[in-house]
């Protein structure tokens, strides 16, 4: 058996709308080793959520369509699974925490019922027993057991996200997909929820794909980091490599846009421009139009991922020139 719990190879996902084809994911390769956490970083619209939904084979269809690629979960291709295999996998082997806790819970079912449903579906025990288990799970995420009889509208945002986490963890999945689990929450609650998640994952030896645009969260939680831009990975490596030996101009841009608490006077350097229209991606490197290092060559061909030593990969043709070095690294 492979060492990786998840291997995504050459994934291509399109959304075919009346207005044109949205190229959401364009050849994505990532893998997550067992009991490790991979952070997937990128702007809104980079295809992060679509990646997570692809792993569950839940890309909304129509208009979404997985055009090609394979997603190996424990060596088995999710995209080849039958409906019943998928149902047995979802929630049991892989669970997902959704971005917006305000809409992710069914407003007409009690919290307890919603947590118990997952247990009932996968562990084939009676409704009553699963409800008891649901209460335990609620306690585990820090909510009083008797709140299991409440409806989502009686919960605050942070509590709802805890409930969503309880649903995801109900069957102790091997892999957890967390889609911006803290974005919709207050900063103080964010820290609580992150700590809780990290703690639970460590204790249960789970792997996690953590999707976020918050580099602070990544630094805090992840073993590996993948940076995504316009449906492709532009840089991937261990957290240490990506944070301390940044290679891709886009990653550099992300860091430069980050306010620094220690050097308050420092000027922020924003990335100029906007993400390209996913219906009309530029030829060559999608980041080239916004890149201050871009050359003629960048607009010709899509750069392949190349190793920068060890587990660190980057997709940037500037490294054709052996002496190329990002400003960030040159100064440091």
């Amino acid at each position: 058996m492979s060492d990786n719990i998840l291997e995504i190879k050459d994934l291509v996902v399109h959304f075919e709308t009346d207005d044109g084809v949205v190229h959401a994911i364009n050849g994505l390769d990532i893998s997550i080793p067992r009991e490790k956490t991979l952070g997937l970083v990128g702007e809104t619209g980079a295809g992060k959520t679509t990646t997570a939904l692809s792993v569950l084979n839940l890309v909304p269809n129509p208009p979404g369509k997985i055009k090609s690629g394979s997603i190996l979960l424990d060596g088995k291709d999710v995209l080849q699974m039958s409906d019943s295999e998928l149902e047995a996998m979802r929630g049991n082997d892989v669970a997902m925490i959704f971005q917006d806790p305000m809409t992710a819970l069914n407003p007409v079912m009690t919290i307890g019922d919603q947590i118990a449903e997952s247990i009932e579906l996968h562990q084939h025990i009676s409704a009553k027993e699963s409800f008891e288990k649901a209460k335990e799970l609620l306690k585990m995420v820090g909510i009083a057991e008797n709140r299991a009889y409440d409806y989502p509208h009686q919960f605050s945002g942070g509590m709802r996200q805890r409930a969503v986490i309880a649903i995801a963890l109900a069957c102790e999945p091997k892999l957890l997909l967390a889609d911006e689990p803290t974005t919709a929450l207050d900063v103080t609650i964010q820290a609580q929820v992150l700590t809780l998640m990290k703690d639970l994952i460590d204790r249960r030896h789970m792997s996690m794909l953590l999707i976020t645009h918050d580099l602070g969260v990544v630094a805090e939680t992840c073993d590996d980091v993948a940076v995504m831009y316009a449906g492709r990975i532009v840089e991937i490596g261990t957290a240490d490599e990506v944070f301390n030996a940044t290679r891709h101009p886009y990653t550099e841009g992300l860091f430069n846009s980050l306010p620094n608490l220690h050097e308050r006077g420092e000027e922020l350097i924003p990335i100029k421009g906007l993400m390209p229209d996913p219906m009309d991606l530029p030829q060559g490197c999608a980041f080239a139009p916004r890149c201050s290092y871009a050359t003629e060559a960048c607009t010709k061909a899509v750069p392949e991922l190349r190793t920068m030593g060890g587990t660190h990969y980057v997709a940037c043709s500037a490294y054709d020139n052996p002496s190329f070095c990002l400003r960030r690294n040159a100064n440091g």
């Binding site: 809104t44 909304p60 971005q99 809409t103 919709a184 449906g231």
Partner: protein
Amino acid sequence: MSQKSTNNEGFSMEILKQYRGRSLAQETVRRLFKNRGAIVGMIFLIVLIVVAILSEFIFDYNTQIIGMNPLALYAAPSAEHPFGCDNMGRDILARICYGARYSLLIGIGSVAIGLCIGIILGSLAGFYGGVIDNLVMRANDILYAIPNIMIAVVVVSILGTSPASLLFSLCISAASSLTRITRAAVMQIRGQEFIESAYAMGLPTWKVILRHIIPNCLSPIIVQCTLAVGNNIISASSLSFLGVGIPVPLPEWGAMLSDGRAYIRSAPWMCIFPGLAIMITVLALNLMGDGLRDALDPKLKK
């Protein structure tokens, strides 16, 4: 992005719109023209309006529309009279063409008046809330509790049967539903931040309402108007059918149906064709209303 953003982030219409650089109105018109049903509906309505205007010049009112033609009593549909003739020997096709004006004028007119009242009352109630809101909405509740047709019956029995009183009685129900919709839309928009920013720029209240609030409430109002025109055309003909609408011998479609009812055994075409005319007109309006709704609300798209 807003809280309502969908899961598939690469697919957000707001973002697409930014890239495309088209205004909402252009975008709406473009989507509307892609909707086959809406196009068919629009073409039919344009043709109907043209027919309603031209029939003034084609037919002679006194002889062809209300006159009697003893030679063609109950004539069955034929090449000469495609829709047949009625109990007075009048050509049904001619009467339907001429009668289009009543349905259209009453349908559109009642909604137009209702719209003016509805927008004013609805935006006042939604914007100011409190006492005004309570007054307007309680009055509305009362109207809501009485089936539209009963209101119309009461109004028509005060003012007598004429196209004008029919128009007036139907505009009440249109005003009532449009008030509701405007109020709900205004209340939703009022709380949003761009309204506060309009205030912060120093605009007076009436300008904020006129320039910022009403334009943002337009989509549900436009859709409701289209559907209300269709509804009112049906209500108008229903009232004529009950005998409290447009008086004989005016060739209103409902009144023609009401006339034809007595002869349904011998001359069924007297019932069939006016009813078809009502149905197709309302169908065209509904097609347009559905098209507009889909075009204005990109969320509903596939």
